[in-house]
C-alpha cells in the first residue's frame, strides 16, 4: 500500500500514540507500516491484507491464544513483547507441536510513547525470528487515556504436531516421573523486583524463552512416552501439577530437595513469604514421562541449553483424592495445594 499525499513522519523518539492511530485512517496505516511491519517484516505482512493465507501440510494442527497484561511492561530479562511471543509459542509447543505462525493484537492506551512501542515491537520481532515463527496478522486498537494500563497484547499461535503424538493433561499414569526443565520462580521474582511498592535489588531476570526446540529434543528422545507437558506460568509448579492430578485422576509425590530453585529466588521468596513452587515461570516446562523413558528424556533436556538444570522431582502415584504431596527437606510431608487468592496480579 502506498500512502499518498503529505504525511508527517512517525516521530519514533518523542511521539506518542493518539486516538487517530486506532481510527482506521492514514495515521493507523502509518503506525502499522512504519512500526509493526518494520519490526515483524515478512512476506505475509507485506501483502497488507486483513488476514494471511498459508499452506498446511497433512496432519494435526494446534492453536492457542493468550492475553498479556504484565505490569510493569519492561522487566529484567524481557518485556511484554518478548513475553507475548514466548508465552504463546510455549503454549503451542506443550502439545509437542512445532509452532509456525502467530497473530498479534495490540490494545494501546492513548499517550503511549512510540519509542516504548518500538522497543516492544522490535523485541517481538526478534523473539519470533529467533524462534523461527512468523507474526503474519495483527490488529491495533487505541483506547482513551485511563482505559488501559499502557499496552495490552493478545497473541494467537498455530503449530503442527507430529503423527503419533497426543499429549494431554489427562494422560499421566501411576508411576510416571515428573521432570522440570530448570530452576523455578525466576519470572515472578523478576517482576516483583520491579513493582513500585515492592522494589528490591536482585540479579534474577525473567526466564522468558521459547521452549519449542527443547520440546523437539525431548520428543525425539521420549516420543509418546511423554504423556503431558505444561509450562508452569501463573500459580507455578503447584498449580500445574494440581491441574494434571485432577485431569489424570491421580496424585503426585515430590521431593522438595530435588526441586531446582536459585538461591536468590529462594531468598526473595523467604523475605516475601512466598513459596517458589507457587511463583510464575515463563521459560520452564513440566513433563510427565513414562518411567522407562524418563532418564533418556532427562538426559536430552540436560544436553539442551534451556534444560541444563533439568531435574526429576517426583512421581505420579495412585490417589483418589488427587493430592500433590511433597516430602519436605526436613523429613516431614506436606500437601502442595493450588495457591488461593492472588499472589501477585498481572504477572504475565
Amino acid at each position: 500500500m502506498s500512502v499518498k499525499g503529505y504525511q508527517r513522519k512517525l516521530d519514533l523518539e518523542n511521539g506518542r500514540v493518539d486516538l487517530s492511530h486506532g481510527s482506521g485512517g492514514r495515521a493507523m496505516a502509518q503506525l502499522i507500516s512504519g512500526l509493526f511491519h518494520q519490526a515483524f517484516g515478512n512476506e505475509w505482512l507485506a501483502r497488507y491484507n486483513d488476514q494471511s493465507a498459508f499452506d498446511v501440510t497433512a496432519g494435526r494442527m494446534v492453536m492457542t491464544t493468550d492475553g498479556y497484561v504484565v505490569s510493569p511492561l519492561f522487566f529484567p530479562g524481557g518485556n511484554i513483547g518478548s513475553l507475548a511471543v514466548h508465552g504463546t509459542i510455549n503454549d503451542v509447543a506443550m502439545s509437542g507441536a512445532r509452532p509456525l505462525y502467530l497473530s498479534a493484537s495490540f490494545i494501546i492506551e492513548e499517550g503511549f510513547p512510540f519509542s516504548d512501542l518500538k522497543v516492544i515491537a522490535d523485541s517481538m520481532g526478534s523473539a519470533a525470528r529467533s524462534a523461527g515463527v512468523h507474526i503474519i496478522t495483527g490488529d491495533t486498537k487505541v483506547v482513551e487515556r485511563g482505559k488501559a494500563d499502557g499496552l495490552f497484547i493478545s497473541t494467537t499461535g498455530i503449530g503442527i504436531v507430529a503423527d503419533g503424538l497426543d499429549l494431554s493433561a489427562d494422560k499421566a499414569r501411576v508411576g510416571d516421573r515428573v521432570l522440570v526443565s530448570g530452576s523455578l520462580g525466576d519470572h515472578g521474582v523478576a517482576i516483583m523486583s520491579k513493582r513500585q511498592n515492592l522494589a528490591f535489588q536482585t540479579e534474577v531476570g525473567s526466564d522468558s524463552a521459547a521452549l519449542h526446540n527443547l520440546v523437539a529434543v525431548m520428543v525425539a528422545a521420549g516420543g509418546s512416552g511423554i504423556r503431558v507437558m505444561r509450562d508452569p506460568t501463573r500459580g507455578g509448579l503447584a498449580a500445574t501439577l494440581n491441574e494434571i492430578a485432577h485431569q489424570s485422576e491421580l496424585g503426585f509425590r515430590l521431593h522438595e530437595a530435588s526441586i531446582p530453585v536459585k538461591p536468590a529466588v529462594a531468598a526473595t521468596c523467604e523475605l516475601l513469604g512466598l513459596d517458589p513452587i507457587h511463583v510464575a515461570n515463563e521459560g520452564k516446562l513440566v513433563a510427565i514421562v513414562a518411567p522407562d523413558l524418563a532418564d533418556a528424556v532427562l538426559a536430552a533436556m540436560k544436553a539442551h541449553p534451556l534444560g541444563s538444570d533439568a531435574a526429576d522431582i517426583g512421581e505420579a502415584v495412585a490417589d483418589n483424592r488427587k493430592f500433590v504431596q511433597m516430602a519436605t527437606g526436613f523429613g516431614g510431608r506436606r500437601i502442595v495445594d493450588w495457591l488461593w487468592g492472588e499472589q501477585l496480579p498481572r504477572i504475565c
Binding site: 511498592n197 510431608r333 506436606r334 500437601i335 495445594d337 488461593w340
Partner: protein
C-alpha cells in the same frame, strides 16, 4: 540461604526429635498450643508433626491477626471505604477476610471502592503524599510486632503535616488473648482439652520481651517457651516444654534468645505507649469480647484516628453458628471436627477466621495437613 538453612537442618531436627521421643513419658499426653500463626506455618510447612511422638499434640492458637479480626471490623472498614473520599490501604491477606453476609474488602473493591493493597505503612504515607485531596486510611492490624510501625507512621504524618492520613486501628495484645484462653472455663476446668504448655510468640516477644508472660505462667501453672519461627526453633521449644511438664515446672523460658530479651525493645514500647492506649475491650473472632486486649489512639492523636474522624461506631455481628473457630482457636476442637471444614469453608471461600489467612489453623491444615489422615509415617 545463610541464617535460614542453619535452622532447617534435617540431621539436627532428627536429633531433637529423638531427644523428645526419649523424654516423653508414654503414660501421659502432652498438648501444647503454639500461639502464633508463624509457628503453625512452620509446623505445617516442614511437616514437624511427623517427627513428634503420637502423644505430643500441637494445638493451633489464635495468633494470626487476620484470623481473629471479627466480621464487625471488616464491616466497619467497608463502611469507611464506602465514603467516596476515602482510599483504604490494607495488607493483601485482609482482602478475603469475611465480613457479615458474604461481604469482604475484595468484593467491595470490585464494586468500586478505592482499596489499595500495600506492603508497609510507608506505602500509605506515599499515597497520602501523592493524593493530598484524598482521605487515606491505613487499616492497621496485628499484634505487638506491627504496632510500632503504625506508631512511626503517625509520627511521620504529624511531622509532614499529612492532613489526609489516618489509621483504622485494630492492634491487639497477645498476653490478654492468652489470658482469655486460659480463663475459659472449658480449659480451666479441663472439661475441654487441657493445654499443658504454650510455645510463646517469636516476633511479638522481640518487642514486649518475655516478662509479660511471667504472671500468666505463674497464675495458671502453665510453662511457656518463647520460640523462633524456624523449624528447629519449634522442635527445641517442644523439647523444653516436655522437660518442664515432666519436672512439674511452669516457667517462662526463652528459646529465641538470639533475638528476644526479658525487657524487649524499650524504644518501640515507648513509642507505642506515647501514641496508643488500651481499649476497655476488643472483639476477637473466636474469643468474643476480651477485656484490655486492643489498642486505640490516645485523644491527643484523635485527628489520626479514622474511627473518630469518620464517626464509625462499633458494630456487632454474629458469627456463623456452625463455625467451630471458637473451639479450634481455644484448642478444644481440631479443624476436621468442624462440619464446615473443607465443605463450604475452604481457603477460596472462608467462613471462619481460621480459614482466612494461610497462618490460620484451618487453612494451614487444609494446605499442608490433610495427608496426616493417612497412617503413613516417614521413617527415613
Amino acid at each position: 540461604m545463610k541464617y535460614a538453612d542453619e535452622f532447617r537442618n534435617k540431621a539436627i531436627a532428627q536429633g531433637i526429635a529423638r531427644a523428645i521421643g526419649a523424654e516423653v513419658s508414654s503414660q501421659r499426653a502432652y498438648r501444647f498450643m503454639e500461639f502464633c500463626g508463624g509457628h503453625t506455618h512452620a509446623i505445617s510447612r516442614y511437616g514437624l508433626e511427623d517427627l513428634l511422638p503420637a502423644n505430643v499434640r500441637m494445638i493451633h492458637g489464635p495468633g494470626c491477626p487476620v484470623c481473629v479480626l471479627p466480621a464487625s471490623r471488616i464491616d466497619m472498614a467497608i463502611r469507611l471505604v464506602d465514603r467516596p473520599e476515602v482510599t483504604l490501604c490494607v495488607y493483601g491477606d485482609l482482602m478475603r477476610a469475611p465480613g457479615s453476609q458474604g461481604q469482604s474488602l475484595l468484593r467491595a473493591k470490585a464494586l468500586g471502592a478505592d482499596i489499595r493493597m500495600v506492603y508497609s505503612t510507608l506505602d500509605a504515607i506515599r499515597l497520602a503524599e501523592q493524593a493530598p485531596s484524598r482521605e487515606v486510611v491505613f487499616f492497621a492490624i496485628g499484634f505487638e510486632t506491627t504496632t510500632p510501625p503504625t506508631a512511626v507512621m503517625i509520627r511521620i504524618a504529624e511531622k509532614k503535616r499529612l492532613k489526609g492520613l489516618s489509621v483504622f486501628c485494630n492492634h491487639v495484645l497477645t498476653p490478654s488473648a492468652m489470658h482469655s484462653i486460659l480463663e475459659n472455663p472449658k480449659i480451666r476446668d479441663t472439661g475441654g482439652v487441657p493445654i499443658n504448655g504454650f510455645i510463646g510468640p517469636a516476633h511479638v516477644s522481640t518487642i514486649i520481651g518475655t516478662q509479660p508472660y511471667e504472671p500468666l505462667a505463674e497464675q495458671f501453672g502453665k510453662p511457656i517457651v518463647i520460640a523462633g519461627f524456624e523449624p528447629l526453633d519449634v522442635l527445641q521449644a517442644i523439647l523444653m516444654l516436655v522437660r518442664q511438664v515432666n519436672e512439674d515446672r511452669y516457667q517462662v523460658e526463652n528459646q529465641y534468645s538470639r533475638v528476644v530479651t526479658r525487657e524487649g525493645n524499650r524504644r518501640a514500647k515507648d513509642e507505642v505507649s506515647q501514641i496508643f492506649e488500651l481499649r476497655a475491650q476488643f472483639e476477637w473472632r473466636g474469643l468474643g469480647l476480651v477485656p484490655n486486649s486492643g489498642l486505640k489512639l490516645k485523644p491527643a492523636y484523635a485527628q489520626f484516628d479514622a474511627e473518630t474522624r469518620f464517626a464509625i461506631h462499633d458494630l456487632r455481628v454474629a458469627d456463623n453458628p456452625a463455625c467451630e473457630c471458637c473451639a479450634i482457636l481455644r484448642g478444644a476442637k481440631r479443624p476436621v471436627d468442624c462440619k464446615l471444614f473443607g465443605t463450604v469453608c475452604t481457603p477460596e471461600t472462608p467462613i471462619g477466621s481460621c480459614m482466612v489467612s494461610s497462618e490460620g489453623a484451618c487453612a494451614a491444615y487444609w494446605t499442608y495437613g490433610r495427608v496426616r489422615d493417612e497412617p503413613l509415617r516417614q521413617t527415613s
